[in-house]
């Protein structure tokens, strides 16, 4: 059962208490609302080595005393904000005890997730062991701000990845094969094939449990699905073309309608004026005035044939009205057409999505099976099967299985990034020389800011999923800080990418806590949204 973070409490003059969702929690707020600080405090409560900047924390949370994290299994971790280490662990039976030092405290945190000290031999030629304990584990799985350029945490591990000890550690994460003290001596020379065969078989057995065997029916379905997807795609394209042309027609018609309306306005003003003129004519019809000086008589001039003009103007207005009526009918037809076309597109789109979803599902089954088949072929060599005393280089075996696993991780990452519809950097590979993932041929550590965020998130997710699938202990939650606001892709793209990303991440069997400046427009039911204010 997953152990997830239930709540966070920051004890200060004004207490902050946040309850997290079991699936995905999106915490958002503008710059300066303390997202990153909250992120750091969670890390701090989990026993992060680096000290928090007390002055900075005091600024945001006045009178801050401690940070408290409660897990879903009832265990509470409390760490006092001070320069000296002071932390408390409270078990669910209410009996608490104080941790002596930071390492002890971290060990307790790690225990929740089944962590232990991991021993990895330093190099095949030198005798000696390096023990990795929980802190390194935390480092590898935490993903602090993607926007931070200096390589820390996981990137740090990779940066030191060329050193053999960490390479092995990395291999342990992806294969689950631990090189411990007992295998140290034999690894140097030989190992008993029988024991090794057991190990490999054990590993394959775990793998086999997770595998679904694809049937002939499913293979046929994949083929027919690809055909159907292409067909629907073509239909959609032609329909979208039609919608565009209808749109243009409607625009043209609306423009003409506006012109006609203003013409009618003009006629109406004229007709009004004519009635007014008729009125003054009626009033002044017999008026006559004589000049004081010359005695000449002035008569009111009657506006000639005003009735004819009214009749004429009204006729014109009527004509325009008829034209307008026809135009409106036409417009209505066009709008109905548009509505129908849009409906059609929507229906087809649903069909399309259904096919694509089903195909991805089937593809995954098929891919997993292929990886399993390849790994069993590589690991269960005839020599290993047949002999009891054969010399086997343990490193070769680990390397082989690492290679297979890392390639399958690459495939999964590619699928995930494609699902997020990242415009580029979706072709993932592993560079064994530099010991780093590459995206479209670019090493992850030199990617542009925005891509780095998305790519690293995909990497962390796949690594965690891999570790869970082979039974390597790891955390059941992921923290992600502000990745799409810093992304370097187009404004339109970023909205749809972040929507796809959120949709995808919310389906993970992990607890995900996302810190963001802004939430995308879609609201996902299984997600919880919390807004921070200044």
């Amino acid at each position: 059962m997953n152990v997830y973070i239930k709540s966070l409490k920051i004890k200060a003059n004004v207490d902050v208490y946040i309850e997290f969702n079991i699936n995905t929690t999106v915490i958002y707020g503008y710059t300066g609302t303390g997202k990153t600080l909250m992120f750091k405090l969670i890390e701090f409560a989990l026993g992060q080595n680096s000290k928090v900047d007390i002055v900075e924390v005091e600024k945001k949370y006045e009178g801050i005393e401690y940070v408290e994290l409660e897990f879903s299994n009832g265990i509470v971790f409390k760490r006092i904000i001070s320069n000296d280490f002071s932390g408390f662990v409270k078990m669910n039976n209410e009996t608490g005890f104080e941790s002596k030092n930071n390492a002890n405290y971290r060990l307790e945190v790690g225990n929740i997730f089944g962590h232990k000290n991991i021993k990895v031999i330093q190099a095949p030629t030198t005798i000696g062991t390096v023990t990795f304990s929980v802190p390194e584990f935390i480092n590898t799985l935490f993903f602090p701000e993607a926007r931070i350029v200096d390589d820390k945490f996981l990137i740090e591990v990779e940066g030191r990845g060329k050193e053999i000890k960490l390479t092995n550690y990395y291999k342990y994460l992806t294969t689950g094969i631990e090189i411990d003290n007992t295998s140290l001596n034999s690894a140097k020379s030989t190992v008993k094939a029988a024991g090794e065969r057991d190990k490999v078989k054990k590993f394959l057995a775990i793998f086999k449990k997770k595998i679904v065997y694809p049937k002939k029916k499913e293979l046929d379905e994949i083929e027919s699905l690809s055909l159907k997807i292409n067909e629907v795609k073509l239909r959609l394209l032609s329909m979208q073309h039609e919608v565009l042309s209808i749109d243009a027609d409607i625009k043209q018609n609306k423009f003409t309608r506006d012109r006609l309306l203003s013409l009618i306005d003009l006629y109406e003003v004229q007709i009004e004026d004519m009635y007014a003129a008729k009125a003054i004519d009626m009033f002044m019809v017999d008026s006559e005035i004589s000049c004081d000086k010359c005695g000449n008589k002035i008569k009111w001039e009657r506006g000639c044939s005003i009735d004819d003009e009214i009749y004429d103007s009204e006729g014109k207005r009527k004509d325009v009205n008829i034209t307008l009526d026809n135009l409106n009918k036409n417009l209505l037809n066009l709008q109905t057409n548009l509505y129908n076309s849009n409906n059609y597109i929507e229906n087809n789109m649903q069909e399309y999505n259904k096919y694509v979803d089903r195909k991805t599902e089937l593809d995954k089954i098929f891919n997993d099976f292929l990886v399993y088949k390849q790994s069993s072929e590589v690991l269960l060599t005839p020599e290993l099967e047949n002999s009891d005393e054969n010399e086997i280089d343990l490193y070769d075996e680990i390397n082989k299985s690492f290679e297979i696993n890392i390639k399958s991780i690459c495939k999964k990452m590619t699928a995930r990034l494609t699902r997020w519809k990242l415009p580029e950097k979706t072709d993932v590979d592993f560079d064994f020389d530099n010991f780093d993932f590459t995206f479209d041929g670019t090493a992850r550590r030199v990617l542009a800011k925005g891509y780095k965020g998305f790519c690293t998130t995909a990497m962390i997710i796949e690594l965690v999923m891999q570790m869970k699938s082979i039974g390597v202990p790891c955390f059941d939650f992921i923290l992600i800080d502000t990745i799409w606001q810093t992304a370097d892709v187009k404004e339109v793209d970023i909205v749809s990418i972040s929507e796809n990303y959120l949709k995808d991440v919310s389906k993970l069997p992990l607890q995900v806590i996302i810190f963001e400046n802004k939430v995308p427009n879609i609201k996902i039911e299984s997600c919880e949204y919390i807004q921070l204010y200044k």
């Binding site: 306005d265 003003v269 004519m274 003129a277 008729k278 003054i280």
Partner: protein, 144 residues
């Protein structure tokens, strides 16, 4: 080309304006604005911005106003007091008579309304802006 009925219609509008403003003395410019603004205002108190004539109504009315005032002056419908214009007795008679005919064209409400708005100056700014734009366009047309 100004039509005969247009001058007569403007005379009616001026008569209504003057009679509504009985206690005031109205200047020629006031009348000009109110006439122009009456084109902006439709009976349902909305800006009637679609009308083509709106754009050049100030020019239209300043041409027509000269003719109309001259004609009304000739027939003793109004008289001048310095720079202001005041309605005569017969103008008031005209107004009474108009209120009987008005049922067909609702002229009185419209002009009355326009006058009130014209006085608050609410539409003057809008009008001035439109007029400026119109002049610019016209100059551009002539230059091209």
């Amino acid at each position: 080309m100004i039509k005969d009925y247009e001058v007569n219609a403007t005379c009616t509008k001026i008569a209504i304006l003057l009679c509504n403003a009985e206690s005031y003395r109205i200047s020629r410019n006031d009348i000009l604005y109110c006439l122009a603004i009456s084109d902006f205002v439709s009976s349902d108190i909305e800006m009637n911005s679609k009308s083509i004539r709106n754009i050049n109504s100030l020019l239209y009315y300043s041409n027509i106003l000269n003719k109309s005032i001259a004609k009304m002056n000739e027939h003793n419908l109004l008289f001048f007091e310095g720079v202001n214009i005041a309605p005569s007795f017969s103008c008031r008679e005209l107004y009474k008579m108009l209120s009987k005919v008005d049922q067909s064209c609702q002229l009185i409400t419209k002009v009355k309304f326009a006058y009130e708005y014209g006085e608050t100056g609410k539409f003057l700014d809008i009008y001035n802006e439109l007029y400026e734009n119109y002049l610019k366009e016209k100059i551009l047309l002539e230059v091209n």
